[in-house]
């Protein structure tokens, strides 16, 4: 099975590739639309500015093939900005249209705490799911972001609290996403990636 790693120039593509490699999974960076035609799974890693990921998806003409693949039922894992891109829009770049797969909008965490939310934090698990198998509320994951997605009764699997509650792990049908970086979250992150690989196998 081929795991397509959408490569829009984000800094963490090689890290995700390495993390999957350590788990024995081969992935391939994808930059062109035709490369998404027949893939077993898709990972959208992202880091940086919301505008960068959305513009790149359009410039590289990856938006429609990505949406088509997700509609076909191809398992999808969004990481950090790759989670935020699933929404219709973000306060970080209000004029741009996100992928619009999840309802609601991405907005800034409250400025009552230090931002970016940078470092290791824990989850509050609201739904048990195979993606979080073997993981619990004492595990730490690495976050590095200022904007975040709201809680949603349908999609939120785990919350995180930093000045406000936000969605740390989302799941809907074949769509999975984490606000933290599993590729940078030590053994706990590796476990989550392994769970994803098991789901797509």
């Amino acid at each position: 099975m081929t795991i397509a790693l959408i490569d829009y120039g984000a800094g963490n593509v090689p890290s995700v590739e390495r993390a999957l490699q350590r788990l024995g999974a081969a992935s391939r960076p994808v930059t062109r639309p035709e490369e998404l035609a027949s893939v077993g799974a898709i990972v959208l890693p992202g880091v940086g500015h919301y505008a960068a990921i959305i513009r790149a998806l359009d410039v590289q003409r990856l938006r429609s093939p990505l949406l088509e693949a997700i509609a076909r039922g191809v398992p999808f894992l969004g990481i950090c900005l790759g989670l935020q891109a699933l929404y219709a829009c973000s306060e970080e770049a209000p004029t741009l249209d996100g992928l619009g797969l999840l309802a609601g909008a991405v907005s800034s965490l409250p400025a009552t705490t230090k931002l970016p939310h940078m470092g290791w934090n824990r989850l509050r698990i609201v739904k048990s799911t195979p993606l979080l198998e073997g993981l619990g509320e004492s595990d730490y994951f690495y976050f590095a972001h200022t904007f975040a997605a709201p809680y949603s009764a349908e999609n939120t699997v785990a919350l995180c609290d930093y000045g406000a509650h936000f969605s740390a792990v989302l799941e809907r049908d074949n769509i999975f996403a984490t606000q933290f970086h599993p590729e940078k979250s030590g053994a706990a992150g590796a476990r989550l990636l392994q769970n994803f690989l098991r789901l797509v196998a």
């Binding site: 880091v47 940086g48 960068a52 931002l115 970016p116 290791w120 590095a144 200022t146 930093y162």
Partner: protein, 258 residues
């Protein structure tokens, strides 16, 4: 729930080998970067910093190779820096596997470099390193920003510079006390607290760490979000797990990898 305080080992390198020195002079070799990185990754370090303290132009490819070798060993974030002067330098470092870039002298000389890096990689990837030296008295302290490995004054107040850097898009401040660096006399709590309370982004305290008590102090009194040290970790004088157990017993939230 809250953020765990981070423990960050720092690998000062000459491009390819880890080196040690006091107040930036009298260097000696302390190991292979990739081997140390693998060790810290498994011992529960929360991040790793790798610096090219020589930062000479012709040794650049060697340092990029070092970043690749180190990144290969890590499942935790990696910050790299030393000699980054342009956006292109930063791109090479990120492509080699760094999650964050740290800049110092070049940002003092051209503050807009911070905005350029922030626009390209996001604020969370831009770490401004400030080397600060006490001026005036302890009763009425002011800290001067030092550049070029601490050798020259930038004639800039550290507090003013930190605030300005955050406005420009720095997502984190790596704050080194030049007065404490290499002394093992403890972090500069007054400096760390003054900067940390004045700005809205996380502060990594550096310089002077020796005992677990020093770390506890810099997190409580110093209000640091993370603490960085080099030789005490390299020498095995202070195992990371033991340090975290000490901090946890003091009710300071830390992450245990398993």
């Amino acid at each position: 729930m809250s953020l765990a305080r981070r423990i960050i080992p720092c690998l000062d390198t000459d491009g390819s080998r880890v080196v040690k020195g006091v107040n930036f002079v009298g260097l000696r070799y302390a190991g292979d970067p990739a081997e140390l990185a693998a060790r810290y990754n498994s011992e529960g370090a929360d991040e790793l910093v790798v610096l090219d303290i020589a930062a000479s132009r012709d040794r650049r490819p060697t340092f990029l190779e070092t970043i690749r070798r180190v990144a290969d060993k890590l499942a935790i974030p990696l910050t790299a820096g030393g000699g980054i002067r342009t956006l292109e330098d930063a791109r090479a470092v990120v492509r080699a596997g760094a999650d964050k870039i740290t800049v110092n002298t070049a940002a003092v000389e051209k503050p807009t470099l911070i905005s350029e890096l922030s626009a390209e990689f996001g604020a969370q990837a831009v770490v401004l390193a400030i080397d600060a030296k006490l001026e005036g008295s302890r009763a009425n302290p002011q800290w001067d920003v030092r550049v070029r490995g601490g050798r020259e004054s930038a004639h800039l107040d550290a507090l003013t510079w930190a605030r300005r850097a955050v406005e420009l898009g720095a997502g984190e401040i790596l704050l080194t006390s030049m007065d404490r660096d290499g002394t093992q006399a403890g972090f500069d709590l007054a400096l760390t607290s003054a900067i940390s309370r004045a700005i809205s982004v996380p502060v990594i305290a550096s310089g002077g760490a020796k005992t677990p008590g020093h770390f506890a102090q810099v997190f409580s009194e110093g209000a640091a979000d993370a603490a960085l040290a080099a030789s005490i970790f390299h020498d095995g004088v202070q195992p990371i797990r033991g340090l975290k157990q000490f901090l946890a017993a003091k009710n300071i939230e830390v992450r245990f990898p398993c």
